[in-house]
Assembly symmetry: C2
Homo-oligomer: 222 residues x 2
DNA sequence: AACTCAATCTTGACGCCGTCAAAATTTGGT
DNA sequence: ACCAAATTTTGACGGCGTCAAGATTGAGTT
């Protein structure tokens, strides 16, 4: 086969600089593949995701990813791990912007949860709605557990104890997580037509009022 | 090609009677395909579902389904519609077994929701976690709306008004649905390891206590 | 500076997938 | 008995994931 010196001058020319940064053959292909995979996921969804599509996006042959990711599952696992880190950070960033009291911090973590799902539906779907990644991988489970602990610590601060060690505390965590997670799922699935007017008028407020229902200790004014 | 008179004597022989019921070529292939599709969905999941696999299960050629279902999306839509009818019926059946008061009826519908998800994770996943079926199809949306109305009427009975016409009522519906749906999703995704002990000891009770958190009007004893 | 070798990438192949078109088969009505 | 329509099969096409083999490159050694 003839060597074509202009192989890099195609539609990927703008990415050439980034790809040549590292010391290898075509630059940091692993990172380029991850970026291409995220775009593929966004455009095609988990169900339409294809490894050959990712390779095409990155401007390499269909078998090039094999040296950086064992198979499609491995690539999707790395992508889910990336998603979990961003997800955890979204919750923590939201808390940084909120007042330093237990109630506000708890609600902020819930808002971060739902807003991450709305801003990154494809990654959220990969983390919670797919069976293709290996969720037992530590690259995924570590940041995912850290995100879970944000929620747990929110409940802990509100209750003044360690909720994980008491059945009642675990029930509070279960209810809070379920509500926030269900809200996120239904929102990105577009199943909340009945509340579309409320969401259009004041999306954050509508979500916030729902999250307040998840507050432990009968958070309502009794 | 040689005609093989023993084509029906393979592993599908036991199904022959059912397939010959109706008046067509090989019996009621449409129903046989739907049954095969459900089994394929259960064994392979939405992401591993294949039309050729369904045809193989039904004992017909790979192109046979085309005359009964336009394409894979069409078959999955019919399957989602079937799931929605069973889902609605699961909620209604649960209500029939519960006391005739608003609170018990509301909780029963929620239990029906979650228990359907646990008993039929593949169908539940198809209805809520996939983008492959056409959810705008009336075959799906009609029973799905009816299931939604079971929840709405539960809230209506507890509140004594039509919750859909008031923002406050819609907020109650949103919170209740989110909690129940999130609980179902997290349960079938196996993400509730922290509460596994509680679920193992008393699964229905653990689920029930979570659902009680979704009761409108501060359902707790204030 | 030439060589070696491992890492990286490409090419080609295989079987499976969904879908289309054409041929074969069966059924029901005449 | 025959015909037209419905049903099913066969075969083909391009796309998919993955494996094996060959080509290319970069880094280290002498």
């Amino acid at each position: 086969m003839v060597w074509r010196p202009d192989r890099r001058d195609g539609p990927m020319a703008s990415d050439t600089a980034r790809r040549q940064r590292a010391g290898y053959h075509h630059g940091d292909l692993r990172a380029a593949l991850l970026a291409a995979a995220e775009q593929e996921l966004i455009e095609k969804g988990v169900e339409g995701f294809s490894l050959r599509g990712v390779a095409k996006r990155a401007g390499v042959s269909h078998a090039a990813p094999a040296h950086h990711f064992r198979d499609t599952k491995d690539l999707l696992t790395a992508l889910a791990a990336l998603a979990a880190r961003r997800f955890r950070d979204a919750m923590l960033d939201r808390q940084l912007q909120a007042p330093r009291n237990a109630r506000s911090q708890f609600i902020a973590s819930g808002l971060g949860y739902v807003e991450f799902a709305l801003a990154n539906p494809a990654l959220f779907d990969l983390m919670f709605g797919s069976k293709r990644p290996d969720f037992a991988s530590e690259d995924f489970s570590t940041p995912a557990s850290e995100a879970f602990m944000v929620l747990v610590e929110g409940v802990a601060a509100l209750r003044g104890d360690d909720p994980l060690t008491l059945a009642e505390g675990r029930a509070e965590i279960l209810a809070a997580w379920s509500l926030v997670h269900g809200l996120a799922e239904l929102l990105i699935a577009g199943r909340l037509a009945f509340a579309e007017a409320d969401l259009a008028a004041d999306r954050e407020g509508t979500i916030l009022r729902a999250i307040e229902r998840a507050l432990p200790l009968g958070g309502k004014t009794c």
